[in-house]
Every structure is written in C-alpha cells, then in structure tokens.
C-alpha cells in the first residue's frame, strides 16, 4: 500500500517540478514580451533607427533620441573595460599560475567579498574618493577642468565592480588548462611567463574572451553606482572628463515622472529592452563559449 502512495507522490512531484522548470523558460519569454508590448507605442511612432540615431531628447515634444545615452553607456563601459581587463587578467594569472596554495585560499574569499559589495557602497566610495581625485588631481594633470562627475569616475567605479567577475571566471578557465601542457612547455626550457603567454593563454583564449564579455555585460547594466558618479547630462560625451548619462541611469532617474508624459513610459521600456537585448546577447555568447570549454576539458 505504501508503495502506491510513494510512487504517486513521486509522479505529482515530477509534474510540479517540470512546471517550475518550464516556468523558468516562460519567464524569459514573458519579460521580453512585456517590454516589447510596453515599448510598442513609441516604436509605432518612430522607427527604431531614428530612435537610436537621434540626439534630440525632448520627452514633452514626443522626441526620444537615445543616441547620447547609448554613447554615454559605451564611453563609461569602454573606460571600465580598458581599466579592468589588464588588472584582472594579471591578477587571475597570478592566482592560478604563480600564487602558493595558501595565497590562493586566502584570495578566493576576498574576491568573492569584492563581488558581494552592493553597488550603492561602490557609489558612495566613488563620490567620496574617485570624484574628488578626478576633479583635483587627474583633470588638472591633463589641463582640463572637470566637476569630477564624469566618464572617468564612472569608468573607474565600474571597473572595480567588474574586476571580481573577470578574475573569478578567468582563474577558473586557466585552472581548466591541463597541467601536462604546462609541464611540457617548462620541460622544453620555457620560462614560466613564456609558458603562460604561449601555452596557457593561447589554450584559454576563448574562455578569457568569454570572461571579459561577462564583465562587459555586467558593466553595461549596472545602474546605481554609475548614476551616482557619472554626472547625468544628456549630451554625448567628447572626452573622459565630460559627464555621461548611461541608459540604466536614464531609466532609474525618470521612472517617477514618466507616467505623466505621453509615450515617455514607452520610451523608458524601450531603453530597458535595449539594455536587455545587448546584455542577453553578450551573456549568451560567452556562456556558449564557456560551456563548450567545460565540455572539451572533461
């Protein structure tokens, strides 16, 4: 008698769990559809290319040019990537190739800790430390005056936020390179650094790119920290000392008032959809690469 109850419980659980798994897939579809549906009014009014290419941002007149915001996002993200990639790759190489086991054990929780710090805290630190530094030291060094709330400040803060992401994934990818390959290279008389650049890095290259892409997509969607330090002026930046107004900051800043202006909410949803599309594309590509590496190493 027990057996029948147990088997029936198992069957019920199976369908419930399957429903949960299907719900996960459905959620992605629902999110995309909801944002598409909500941004449809503004897409019906202007073509997507006008919206992306125009610099005229006048919600009250129904003009929504996303160009300055796209460019702001690109500037800030680009600065962050340029700063973060060398730092994080050198750190990841050190941790996986050079560091003694004790250092490695100590470093892992610290990197995780850096990943766990909330973005508002990074924002506060940016306002207290990075903004004054840029205003008083870095900008005068280049002979320009800047409020400090600019692309560079946003880039520095973002760079620090994506460091742990890249370090973590890259160190994992380096760790997946077979030990025998290193030993073969060292046995042929190569120095450790030659082994790193010509064997480990070459073998791990797709994974390193995937790690960087993951970092980029994280930077792309980051909101609060950038909102606090990037300046938020709706003009395309011309240098790293100009303020920028990235897409996520635009959404966060205008949510309150958007419901009172026609099409404004649709434009905000379109901004969210753009963000989603870019980030999802980036993530999907890097995940596919990483999954392939994982399978290849097994």
């Amino acid at each position: 008698m027990h057996r029948r109850v147990r088997v029936r419980t198992d069957r019920i659980a199976a369908s419930a769990m399957r429903l949960c798994a299907a719900g996960t897939v459905l959620l992605v579809v629902v999110i995309v559809c909801a944002l598409l549906l909500k941004s449809a009014p503004v897409l019906a009014r202007h073509s997507i290319w006008t919206l992306l290419g125009s610099s005229s941002w006048q919600p009250l007149r129904g003009e929504f040019g996303f160009f300055p915001f796209l460019l702001g996002t690109l500037w800030v993200t680009g600065t962050a990537v340029l700063l973060a990639v060398p730092l994080s790759l050198f750190t990841a190489i050190y941790l996986s190739e050079y560091a003694p086991a004790a250092v490695r054990r100590l470093a892992a929780p610290l990197v995780d800790l850096l990943a766990g710090i909330p973005s508002v805290i990074y924002g506060i630190w940016g306002v207290l430390a990075v903004v004054p530094l840029v205003r008083d030291r870095v900008a005068p060094l280049f002979g320009v005056s800047s409020s400090g709330y600019c692309v560079l400040a946003g880039g520095v803060v973002l760079a620090i936020m994506i460091l742990p992401v890249i370090i973590h994934v890259a160190a994992e990818v380096f760790g997946a390179v077979p030990r025998g390959m290193r030993e073969a290279s060292l046995a042929l008389g190569a120095t450790q650094w030659q082994t790193v650049t010509r064997v480990v890095l070459r073998k791990a290259m797709p994974g390193v790119i995937a790690a960087v892409v993951l970092g980029v997509s994280r930077a792309f969607g980051e909101t609060m920290a950038v909102l606090m330090v990037a300046g938020n002026v709706a003009v395309s930046p011309r240098s790293i000392f100009d303020p920028a107004y990235p897409l996520p900051a635009l959404i966060a800043n205008n949510y309150g008032e958007m419901l009172s202006v026609p099409l404004y909410d649709a434009a905000m949803m379109l901004a969210a959809l753009l963000l989603l599309a870019v980030v999802v594309a980036f993530n999907a590509v890097s995940r596919c690469v990483l999954a392939r590496i994982e399978r290849g190493m097994r």
Binding site: A21, M224, A272, V280, N283
Partner: protein
C-alpha cells in the same frame, strides 16, 4: 636568454602590482565606509524610524530601512528558494541531461542571470501595473525574488551536479523513488553548498537598489503591510547622500556601514555554514 629573464621579471612585477591594486581597492572601500560611518553611527540610527525633519538633519534613524530590507530579503529569499530548489532537482534527477527542457531551462537561467537589476525593476513595475498594485513591500519582494532566483538556481545547480552517480544509483537500487532520492540523499549530500547558494543570493538581494526603486518605493514608517510601500537600506543611503545637508550625508555613511556589516555577516555565515553542515556529506 637574458630577454626572457627580463620579461619574466616585468611580468611578475606587473602581476604583483595588479594583485596589490585589487587588494588595496577592497581595503580602501571598506576602510572608507568604516572611517566615515563610525563617527556618524549612534544607537538612535538603528533603533528609531525617521522623525519629523530627518532629511534636514533632525532626529531619527533608519530602522524603517533596516526592517524593510530584512523583510524584502527574507520574503524574496523564501520565494526564490521555493522556485529554484524544484527547478534544480528537476534538472538533475528527473530530466535526462540532454533533454530539450533541461537545456532550455539551463539556457534560460543563464539569460536571467545576465539581466540587469534595473530591468527586473522595470518589468516588476509593469507587472504591478497590470495587477493594479502600487509600490509596495509585495512588489519589492517579487522584483528581488526575480533578481536572485537565477543566482540561487545556478549556484545550486553547480553544487548538485557534483553529486556522484554511485550515490544516487545506490539509493535507486534500494527502491527509493526519485523524490525520496532527491530530498533524502541529494539535498543532504549537498546541504552545505545549497545553504551557501541561498546566502550568496540573499547578499545580492539585500544590497540591490535598482530593482526596488520603483517596486518597493520608499516610506518613513516601519513596514507593517504587504501592500504598503517599504523602505530599503540601499535607497535610504542613496536618498540621504543626495541631500545637500552634511549631517544627513553623514547618516548615509552610517547607513552604508550598517549595510556593509549585514553583507559581511551574510558572507561570513555562508563560509561558516559551508563547513558546519558538511557532517552528513559522504566523501
């Protein structure tokens, strides 16, 4: 020959500099929060909600935000856990590894993991509009649950995947059903990892501001109802820092100290539980 030695030296120097920079930044951030936060800290800050004129520098504290953040995080964690555990068990025990549903669900988790929190906030807001709910504790819980669900599920999936096949095979051979095997063998075997996954997701949830910005709103009173707005620590920090008064900005530093302490406590708990619950694990 010599050039190779020089390159080795330069590379080592660059690596040392990079590691030092990363560590220095971590220390600088935590140091800044402590140095600025401790002087502004007081018992009133964590024991009282804001009083009249709080945002002009008068009496009060951030109890509303502390309780709001805890309530939202607890609710969101419970919600995300009750969804991600079945998904993970289903992926590993019920579905064959190459089944279409399993690969679709894993890909969906990857996609969801990458969605920025501001998009979850916007999506949550749209859903709330459809159901006619305004900014509320419930809205915040749902948005944060959506945000942390993929983080939790992917971390759990990674842990559960490491369960040796012999262990589950032994359980099946004794006549246990898949459900019994999942709950009594797989979950027990991976409990330390599962707890760590939940705590990591919790840490992400408590610190996120962009997802609760439109969904939970902000209020000066202590959260009592699911359908009223609720304050959160990250937003309290953001708003206090945005005022022009130095006294209020100092409170933002104190609030940041509270948030950082909570995060550190959660992350320490994650490490501790990882060791504590490992006594049932078969090695």
């Amino acid at each position: 020959m010599n050039r190779r030695r020089v390159a080795e030296g330069i590379a080592r120097a660059l690596m040392a500099a990079s590691v030092a920079t990363v560590l220095a930044v971590l220390l600088l951030i935590i140091g800044t929060v402590i140095v600025r936060g401790v002087p502004a800290m007081s018992w009133a800050m964590i024991s009282q909600p804001p009083r009249g004129g709080f945002y002009l520098g008068k009496e009060g504290g951030i109890l509303n935000a502390i309780l709001g953040s805890l309530a939202i995080t607890a609710g969101a964690t419970a919600l995300a856990l009750s969804w991600s555990l079945p998904v993970v068990l289903c992926l590993n025990a019920y579905l064959p590894p190459r089944s279409p549903l399993a690969s679709a669900a894993r890909f969906a988790l990857d996609v969801l993991w990458g969605i920025p929190s501001i998009v979850y906030g916007a999506f949550g807001f749209v859903v709330m509009l459809w159901f006619g709910i305004g900014a509320s504790l419930l809205g915040g819980i749902i948005a944060v649950a959506l945000l942390i669900f993929p983080i939790m599920a992917r971390a759990m999936d990674e842990v559960v995947r490491t369960v040796p096949q012999e262990l589950t095979d032994a359980s099946y051979a004794r006549g246990a059903t898949r459900l019994e095997t999942s709950l009594k063998v797989v979950v027990r075997q991976t409990l330390p990892g599962l707890v760590t996954a939940v705590l990591i997701a919790m840490g992400r949830g408590i610190g996120d501001a962009a997802s609760v910005l439109f969904t939970a709103g902000f209020t000066d009173s202590i959260p009592v109802s699911l359908f009223r707005p609720a304050a959160t620590l990250p937003l309290a920090i953001f708003f206090q820092l945005g005022t022009p008064f130095p006294e209020v900005q100092a409170r933002a530093y104190a609030s940041a100290l509270v948030l950082t302490a909570l995060i550190l406590a959660i992350s320490a708990a994650a490490r501790l539980f990882g060791h504590r619950y490992s006594r049932h694990v078969v090695r």
